[in-house]
């Protein structure tokens, strides 16, 4: 992922709602939008809290999580359709349930040794700098 060639894969373009998430990733922290009233995490970021439905005074911040979770499901992408990935090795893409909250889910590539993948397998977050100023969170199995 950090080889010599110029990085030619799509990079995230943060927006008003997601800037806090990507800024934290840049500091190598996985964080999610959290409601200041009831503590519910949300991903992707929401305009009002799905936990307490506070419409009048939404109070959100991005809070760091452990990055640990379990695998909900996965696929192995063998037929690449994204520029920069064409011809690349198969990608193991996992949906992970973060330990902090039952419905806090995040999908990303599973890196490292993927041979032990199973439903419910524990994973941890690894954040990598893929290009100047661009970092992405990945997951890897906890042996």
């Amino acid at each position: 992922m950090s080889d010599e060639r110029e990085y030619d894969r799509p990079v995230p373009v943060p927006d008003e709602m997601t800037a806090g998430f990507w800024e934290a990733v840049g500091r190598h922290e996985l964080s999610f939008q959290r409601c200041g009233h009831c503590g519910t995490y949300a991903h992707p970021p929401v305009s009002f809290c799905v936990g307490c439905h506070n419409l009048d005074q939404p109070a959100f911040s991005f809070e760091k999580v452990s990055g640990c979770g379990t695998i909900v499901n996965w696929t192995v992408i063998t037929d690449q359709m994204v520029s920069g990935f064409i011809g690349a090795d198969p990608i193991v893409h996992v949906l992970v349930r973060l330990d902090e909250q039952e419905d806090l889910l995040f999908p990303a590539t599973l890196i490292g040794d993927t041979s032990g993948i199973t439903l419910g397998a524990p994973v941890e977050t690894v954040i990598r700098d893929v290009a100047p100023g661009v970092s992405l969170p990945y997951f890897q199995l906890i042996p």
């Binding site: 696929t75 359709m81 949906l95």
Partner: protein, 401 residues
């Protein structure tokens, strides 16, 4: 909230027409849509001047990185395109992303008196180049969560809960082959379907190129150019039309869809939660149950969706659809003929048109050589039981049903 009350058996399908489905038509899809619409109007014994309502499913196609603005007539067909190019003068019109929801809302419009004869159209275009591919370096909006990981295709999205299903219940691709092969067989006497003249063997299915495990080439519907139109009117007016009317008895739409995680369709259990909730309302409102449906056309844009619809609607227990469809049961002459009209797997990516069409043709007894003897009630479904566009429609030949 109940969604049935407004049109239960008060609205009927009285005509239909579908064009040939091909990879790339010789004409722009706008031409296909007008052809299908004129043919459906004629099929109902009407003229353009009778049409006072228009509803379209106008979503898709998705282009690589949105480098191209979608143009009605070339990329999609919406209500305004048909109104302008067919010189229609509707008092009511509606564009939805997808067609079966547009049909259900059109039925509400007829039942409420907003329109007398509604033309409902769904046109799909297959753009040149690779469908769904992502080009470019900036991933914006929902794609910021997926494209940086090389993940964009809907096929990859459904592959994840399908993998979860396989792992949890022990199903394998060999079990899905039964469905893919039978559905393909079902269009061998339907010349307008894309896969007409091209049967699929179990061996070919299993050797199909893998896209995103466990989704292979033959688990996806093939993108096509094609168009289908239907005419709806009130039960009273339907009696004066040339063909036997098929009444719309009920519908239910997915509600409170689980939070959508971009680039995924969520956990498998989200499909069950949404689907069981939908089925509870569908059967509760109608007083029907799965066993009451003679004709069953379940959405198969991706093959695993058929298993999930079978289970959530109660045709078989949760986790058993892969076993339920075996041993000749779903063949046209089997105990449970399934997707007798060929579905998307037989026609190509027509987004629910083949399913509604088959319910109509079977119940109006216009299915020709494939007419199923007992055809008084029907069900079609669309999309997935966990997405807000997912829905089920019930049909009957008997307005008292």
């Amino acid at each position: 909230m109940s969604q049935r009350s407004l049109f239960r058996n008060k609205v009927a399908i009285v005509g239909a027409a579908v064009t040939n489905c091909v990879r790339h038509a010789d004409v722009a899809v706008g031409s296909l849509a007008v052809q299908a619409s004129d043919a459906a109007i004629a099929d109902a014994g009407l003229t353009r001047a009778d049409i006072d309502g228009v509803a379209c499913g106008a979503g898709l196609p998705s282009y690589a990185a949105s480098t191209r603005a979608l143009q009605p007539g070339f990329d999609l067909v919406n209500g305004d395109f048909l109104i302008n190019h067919m010189s229609l003068e509707p008092s009511w019109s509606l564009d939805k992303d997808s067609f079966p929801p547009a049909l259900a809302f059109a039925a509400q419009a007829v039942a409420s008196g907003a329109a007398k004869y509604v033309l409902v159209n769904r046109t799909l275009h297959n753009p040149v180049g690779r469908y769904n591919s992502f080009e470019g370096l900036g991933a914006k909006g929902s794609q910021q969560w997926s494209a940086p990981y090389g993940f964009v295709a809907p096929s990859s999205m459904i592959a994840m809960p399908y993998m979860e299903y396989q792992q949890r219940y022990g199903a394998r691709r060999e079990h899905m082959a039964t469905l893919a092969v039978q559905t393909r067989k079902n269009v061998q006497d339907i010349p307008t379907a894309y896969w007409h003249g091209k049967e699929l063997t179990v061996e070919q299915y299993l050797a199909g190129r893998m896209i995103s495990e466990p989704m292979s080439l033959f688990d996806n519907d093939i993108p096509v150019d094609g168009s289908g139109s239907f005419i709806l009117t009130s039960a009273e007016r339907a009696r004066d039309r040339p063909h036997k009317p098929v009444y719309l008895t009920g519908w239910a739409k997915v509600r409170n869809p689980s939070k959508f995680i971009p680039g995924t369709l969520g956990p498998l259990d989200d499909f069950y939660d949404g689907g069981f909730d939908l089925a509870g309302r569908l059967w509760g409102d109608s007083g029907w149950r799965a066993d009451d449906c003679d004709i069953v056309q379940l959405y198969d844009g991706f093959t695993p969706l058929v298993w999930l619809w079978l289970e959530v609607l109660g045709f078989c227990p949760q986790g058993e659809a892969w076993r339920f469809i075996q041993d000749g049961k779903i063949a046209r002459d089997g105990k449970f003929p399934l997707n007798s009209g060929g579905g998307n797997q037989g026609w190509g990516r027509l987004h629910g048109v083949p399913h509604v069409l088959e319910c109509y043709l079977q119940l109006s007894r216009r299915a020709g050589a494939r007419q199923i003897e007992r055809a008084e009630t029907a069900i079609s479904t669309y999309a997935t039981p966990c997405a807000p566009i997912g829905e089920a429609l019930l049909y009957s030949t008997d307005p008292e049903r």
